[in-house]
Symmetry: C2
Subunit: 621 residues, 2 copies
């Protein structure tokens, strides 16, 4: 070899690469390979230069290289990196149409070459084939070992280049860590192979022989289970263990619980077996621990554990299912009534009055309580139905009518309060906007268009970008987006003079619109009842008040959410504008790229809440 | 008088106005008035110059003018127009703080001067007071007539300037059309007054005397009713007629029907009277004609017309109320069952299966049909409950389980279809955006930054402003906003190459997200049933598919609705940008002020649909 630094070995890289590309394009792989090897150019380029061309001509590549060592060298040097993007960028006009390989580059090349070699001459390319297995992203050690084992069982005819099992194993041990290989050989459940690897390794026979002997004495399935467990392959372990017969079922259960393999285990047993039932119960217990009461109940129910199922359903207020299993048990009538009453109470606490009433009426046989629950929940229609079904018109006088008048009072008072808050916020918003516009104009006048502070006072910027507040956001980007959103909301303070006051006001106004708009159904129901019970004055007042409220909200929408948020900027490109003035006002319009989150949220605030004007709620009063 | 054109009468208007303003500011109303009268300057300026000052000094104004004629002249010339805005604009720095009067200007001035004159000397200013009544926006002719009548009944002591009833009436007739005055005198129900006016008019006594004589013979309330009706004051007519006794009730009913005064009439009769009932029935009939069946039913119900009420309730599917009245009638059990069955069928047609089931179960005593309705409606929980309540587990096998598997198939197929459409639209959107960006860049390159056509190809502009399509909108601004919105939607064609294709795609993508996101509850319910009936494979598949769909949608959101809609513009103010380039890109960002409607709608499209990630739907499968 020439000494380093000799002028003859110095090549201009661009020239070399150009030559290489020519060779590769004309499928002269051998020339390219030798040159690259000599000049230490990354061999990945052979593939990267034109992936499709390479894959289509894998056989040519193998034939030309011919040498096992060279093929192995190429395989060993494969990396995910695309060298035409990093080390050896292409010139602009040599771009290839994008070619997408199915899977990762390394795996694709390994599989393609291996398939080619196997179809050409599996014996000759034996070592390269093993290399291709081992070099994959997830090394296929077991397949490689299996091939070595085959060589031992069926030694190839002494053809040219054929290798023995011995040699192959030696080569594998050179490529892979010996302990990894030993573990994987165990995973083949083939003790010959294990011994072969163990002997080649520097392991102490006193260590592995007793373990192997112990394994050999076990029943085949249990043996495989033991190995799988040793290798932490719990799914496989479970499958093998499940085939070991009933006496090993406690171990199954333990394994399932330890490794949380519930759903996997359930697939392994017939649904009518006791094992299936025991597994189901274990699963249900696990789900209870995870607070997934309803699914636990369903599992217990389906395997006949009705009492436990009942408990689960009750604890998650899944009252319909609870009733089903209660009737399956079957609970005696008085206990069923008690159960219904208990659940009704829980449901009432959750404001689910209609469901509570159904329980009280149909299962506790207490129509009075049922009607009272419906009245409390303002489910007027249903209350009336039960009153008439049970001929309890007395309750109409004693409870329903007073409740209706009370509902009328509270609704009108609520509407009044909402409207006064709305008007206050709306007026304040007008003031804040005026102030911001003025402050911004002053700023621009005083300090010229480049003044960044002006942005602080710009109404448009605070609505569009959140100005400086959105930037402080990026500092806390490690928080979850939910938290960030929460933090963002917090900054929206309604306190007078707060920097985001305008946005806070817009937000609050939107909330009021949504709240009041949601009342349509409620108001409609109440109006009907007021008409039915001749409280027409009240119906009239409520209808007028609600209609007035809706029209006030509707009329405010265009004012609070002006269609054109940048209205005051439209004249900025007039004849009197300068590059600086355009640029300055433009900056205030640019959404801050640093704060996409705030931007998205601002877009929400920018859009007026939808009013459901299609919902008819008015009567003729 | 000097001949016209004489130089002495020519005044420089600005000088005159300046002098007038001085006088008005120093409360020299007399001088101002005389000058204005002479130079034919609109008298409204006296008030408009400083409304608050004028109102605060109304007494000074009256005292200075003193002449009834002058005061009348001023009152007669009053107009709503603000002359300082139109004829005699103020100089910039003489702007007053805005002063808002309660009501319209003419009414405010009339009332203020009238009150002042009445407190000063009602006799002296009698004619001016009458003028103030007559000049109001809605002339108060009756009050004026009443005052004339008073003068006749109690003639004032012969004080200075006191006028007789005769004179006052004459003056009124000079101000107001005689027929109007006659009608209004009738409205006072005072025949003396009527005769007084009639005599002064040129009406033929043969015409009005028989009518007046006929009226005089009537019972007082019926007399007033007749007059009110003659004057088309139907509300008053109704009140008076309602006081005429039962024999006139048919007339009441006719009046109410003709003038649709139902609610007004109901207030005039006690609720326990037959009249009230008859009116209610008439009202209900009217509401039926207006397709307001439910309220009609409520009215008929409350007045005991249960059969008609039942009909109304049935026709509008108000089944709870229908049952109430059916039980009040009471319908015999077999008819009630038939009724329940009929309504259940209607409800099923409207996909209200849970309600249909309740009717079938509780009123038609047909639990099987009830359960089948619930299964059809995929109301699994409730179907199970009824199955167990009625111990009809056989239906689980024959209907429930097959329905579950079918629901599984249709849900997975639906999800698949939605996802493939979603991916197609999403890919196409990327292509369209790319094309627009490229086309826009080309345009800018070729024709320079002032090219307006470039905007046509700008993705940002089409999303933000709707470009030229929003302008065409202004041509149809006479249409209702609903129609406009519809027209706007129509333009969103998904056809390849349509100018708004990107917006149409975004809209379609948003719709798919909303639809799929809405399935959470449905999928959750189905998953539970699949687990209960040991169809865990299906549960697994559905859960995986739905989770994958949701995460695909979620991941697309930032791509379809990029947080930063003007991302490609952020570098435009870099060191290489010129005033022109800034201006050009800025123009594309400006929302078109001409199309606020499109803008609002665009804002909607700009905002990604909300996904309800807080709704837990997954099981552990």
């Amino acid at each position: 070899q020439m000494p380093r630094g000799n002028l003859e070995t110095v090549h201009h890289r661009a020239l070399v690469l150009a030559q290489l590309r020519k060779w590769l394009d004309s499928l002269q792989f051998k020339e390219a390979f030798m040159c690259m090897r000599k000049l230490r150019i990354n061999l990945n380029l052979i593939y990267d230069h034109n992936p499709k061309l390479f894959l289509d001509n894998a056989e040519t590549f193998i034939t030309q290289l011919s040498s096992i060592n060279h093929i192995n060298l190429f395989l060993t040097e494969l990396k995910e990196e695309d060298t035409t993007q990093t080390m050896y960028p292409r010139s602009e006009d040599a771009r290839l149409p994008p070619y997408k390989v199915p899977g990762t580059k390394v795996d694709v090349v390994c599989d393609a070459l291996r398939n080619t070699m196997e179809s050409m001459d599996p014996n000759k390319y034996c070592l390269s084939i093993l290399t291709a297995h081992v070099r994959k992203t997830v090394p296929e050690l077991e397949i490689a070992l299996q091939k070595v084992h085959e060589l031992r069982v069926n030694p190839p005819a002494a053809a040219v280049g054929a290798v023995s099992a011995e040699e192959a194993l030696k080569y594998l041990l050179f490529l892979v860590n010996v302990n990894d290989l030993y573990e994987h050989s165990l995973g083949t459940y083939d003790f010959d192979l294990v011994l072969m690897v163990a002997e080649k390794s520097q392991k102490d026979p006193k260590e592995y022989l007793p373990f192997l002997n112990m394994l050999k004495q076990l029943e085949p399935n249990y043996q495989r289970y033991t190995i799988d467990k040793h290798l932490k392959r719990y799914n496989k372990a479970l499958v093998h263990l499940s085939q070991c017969g009933k006496e090993h079922f406690p171990e199954v259960l333990q394994l399932v619980k330890e490794q949380k393999l519930y759903t996997e285990a359930l697939h392994l047993f017939a649904t009518d077996t006791t094992q299936y039932k025991e597994l189901t119960i274990a699963f249900a217990e696990h789900l209870v621990g995870q607070q997934q009461m309803e699914q636990a109940g369903l599992l217990l129910w389906r395997c006949g554990e009705t009492h436990s199922a009942l408990q689960s359903f009750v604890s998650c207020c899944s009252w319909r299912h609870a009733l089903c299993v209660a009737q399956l048990i079957p609970l005696p009538p008085d206990q069923l009534a008690l159960l219904a009453r208990d659940m009704a109470e829980k449901l009432s606490e959750q404001r689910r009055y209609a469901e509570a009433a159904l329980l009280l009426d149909q299962y506790a046989n207490d129509c009075e309580e049922a009607i009272l629950a419906l009245i409390t929940g303002a489910v007027w229609d249903e209350a009336l139905r039960l009153i008439h079904t049970h001929r309890r018109q007395d309750i109409t006088e004693t409870n329903l009518k007073p409740a209706l008048l009370e509902a009328f009072s509270s609704q009108t008072a609520f509407l009044e309060a909402q409207m006064s808050t709305f008007t206050r916020h709306r007026n304040r918003l007008a003031v804040v906007r005026e102030q911001k516009l003025k402050a911004r104009a002053d700023m621009l006048d005083e300090e010229g268009p480049d003044c960044v502070d002006a942005e602080l006072y710009s109404e448009a910027s605070s609505v569009l970008t959140g100005s400086k507040y959105s930037q402080s956001n990026s500092r806390i980007s490690s928080r979850s987006s939910k938290n960030r959103r929460k933090a963002e909301r917090k900054k929206l303070s309604l306190k007078e003079g707060s920097p985001m006051e305008d946005r806070a006001l817009i937000h609050a106004l939107g909330e009021i619109i949504t709240t009041v708009d949601k009342m349509r159904e409620e108001v409609h129901g109440l109006l009907k009842m007021l008409v039915l019970f001749e409280s027409e004055r009240q119906a009239q007042r409520l209808q007028e008040q609600y209609a007035a409220a809706l029209s006030l909200l509707e009329s405010a929408v265009t004012e609070v959410w002006p269609d054109n948020t940048a209205l005051n900027n439209t004249t900025l490109t007039g004849p009197n504008s300068t590059a600086n003035s355009i640029s300055a006002s433009f900056q205030q319009q640019i959404p801050a790229a640093a704060a996409p989150q705030a931007q998205a949220q601002d877009a929400e605030i920018l859009v007026a809440p939808k009013m459901r004007n299609n919902i008819k709620w008015k009567l003729t009063v």
